[in-house]
Assembly symmetry: C2
Homo-oligomer: 295 residues x 2
Amino acid sequence: MAEPVFERLALVGAGLIGSSIARIARARGDIARVVVVNARTEKTLGRIAELGIADVCEIDPVRAVEGADCVVLCAPVGAYASLAAAIGPHLAPGAIITDVGSTKQSVIRDVGPHVPQGVHFVPGHPMAGTEFSGPDAGFSELFEGRWCLLTPPVGTDAAAVQRIKAFWERCGATVSIMDPEHHDRVVAIVSHLPHLIAFTICGTADDLADETRKEVLQFAASGFRDFTRIAASDPVMWRDVFLNNREALLEMLARFTEDAQAMARAVRWGDASYIEDKVMRGRKIRQALIDINQA
Amino acid sequence: MAEPVFERLALVGAGLIGSSIARIARARGDIARVVVVNARTEKTLGRIAELGIADVCEIDPVRAVEGADCVVLCAPVGAYASLAAAIGPHLAPGAIITDVGSTKQSVIRDVGPHVPQGVHFVPGHPMAGTEFSGPDAGFSELFEGRWCLLTPPVGTDAAAVQRIKAFWERCGATVSIMDPEHHDRVVAIVSHLPHLIAFTICGTADDLADETRKEVLQFAASGFRDFTRIAASDPVMWRDVFLNNREALLEMLARFTEDAQAMARAVRWGDASYIEDKVMRGRKIRQALIDINQA
Ligand SMILES: NC(=O)c1ccc[n+]([C@@H]2O[C@H](COP(=O)([O-])OP(=O)(O)OC[C@H]3O[C@@H](n4cnc5c(N)ncnc54)[C@H](OP(=O)(O)O)[C@@H]3O)[C@@H](O)[C@H]2O)c1
Ligand SMILES: NC(=O)c1ccc[n+]([C@@H]2O[C@H](COP(=O)([O-])OP(=O)(O)OC[C@H]3O[C@@H](n4cnc5c(N)ncnc54)[C@H](OP(=O)(O)O)[C@@H]3O)[C@@H](O)[C@H]2O)c1
């Protein structure tokens, strides 16, 4: 077996993402010699212990990170500022702090100031997830074949970035380095806006059902079913994502709205070829995704 | 085996839906003694013959419907008016004409006037589909456990409605009778608007990729992947659906846009509890669908 990437890995947060990392580290053995798991509640931590996917379970985040050469923040991004303020002073010299948060400019803003001299900060975002949350939702194939985007600030230690890259590759992901601002725009359109739309349309449909006092959701055809699946996601995580990627999300929603209005205009005025073109384009994009194995 | 519902069933159109019906009728034997299949092109009809799922393949729709006691229109709804004009005069006295079109007020408008005295017209819509089209996309489980909505105009012969109900039940569907206007509003929100949104957001993302000359679609996270799947659907079918359910679709898009703007405002002003409430609601709706087996 290859040398473990880390001696002591501390996961701060143990839901879908954190517990998936713990499962992988446990199963592989070449990620860290010791895996420390922290969660906010005894309930989650107890479940991690029952699952047997941590070497050490520690409810105090400060104690959890002590002596770790790698700390991964796996909580909702809205919790990062206070978590970083608490653990920052206790990070070991030479350690790496990284994260899995879905937004990156906000994470750099919230965590950056609490990272002491001599500790390396490598923000990251595995582009993998499901609509489920909590320690039982995790599974060791979660990152298999998925992208993990790293957004190290200019001047970040190259060796630290390499170790985080090796870590994610052992988790099954393909790593790409990206500028944080570009990251936030890309995820705003491919992930955050689709979620906002899904949450919204479920509400629109439910209001209609209330209004007509008739079944609506009952007839969820294939189109709608997929939207409700997306909409089943965790409220706290998504609240935090929306609030922490505000500018990019609002920009993408504005672009989408313009495009939807153009489609509405084509429908109203019977512009058949405009509609056909747009649908055809969706088809091409789908085909392109299939070709690059992202479908 | 039960008596077949029909003596001679004619399917006008043999893509995803038409060929699925043909497959079921072939496999079961209690739907019709003879299954006649018509398609627009020799190519599709030849494929139906190769698949061996029709007793008679007939390229001329007029000849296809001659002597049939049930005719099912399975073409895109934009083709219904001219198809009905052509076959109307050749429908057998006492026959039933029905359809599978995704819109119902337009179908009544386009087909109704061509239905001769003594022929029964029972508009229908199986709420089942995939993003694939053509004769090879069909499969005999397509309607299993799905709804089929019938929207017979007031005064339609009750026995004819009963036979169409029996037909769909043997196809595996659960039948519900609905007012055509209500039908069009329900499908506008649960199916047509989600498709319009999916087509649109794929274009918005692709424009962004063009603009930044950078990868965007490559990072399709789970949210976006589902949208591209929906967006892979047939351009002609969806063009026809949008143009033939214009009023309801535009109304639902307007409602959705208002709701999305309210969400945007909450994001802009940091209204965390509003966002959380909306996401929580999505979750509840998903749970409700799971409870009624529509998820
Ligand atoms: N889900 C996805 O699809 C996805 C994909 C990529 C990235 N991400 C990112 O991954 C991170 C975790 O998401 P997840 O899906 O794994 O969430 P999750 O399943 O809800 O788990 C969140 C974890 O964080 C802990 N936590 C919650 N609030 C906390 C706080 N205020 N202080 C300290 N710990 C707290 C929770 O502890 P308790 O259980 O004890 O409350 C739980 O262990 C988020 O930043 C998210 O943006 C998610
Ligand atoms: N797909 C869904 O998800 C879904 C769900 C419920 C209801 N529907 C409704 O079902 C109907 C058929 O949809 P589908 O998905 O089965 O479509 P499809 O796979 O594209 O098949 C359409 C069929 O109609 C024939 N056709 C096309 N244009 C025609 C024309 N102008 N005149 C005569 N025949 C023509 C085609 O013949 P050729 O192949 O020879 O061109 C083909 O056999 C539509 O009205 C649609 O609204 C669809």
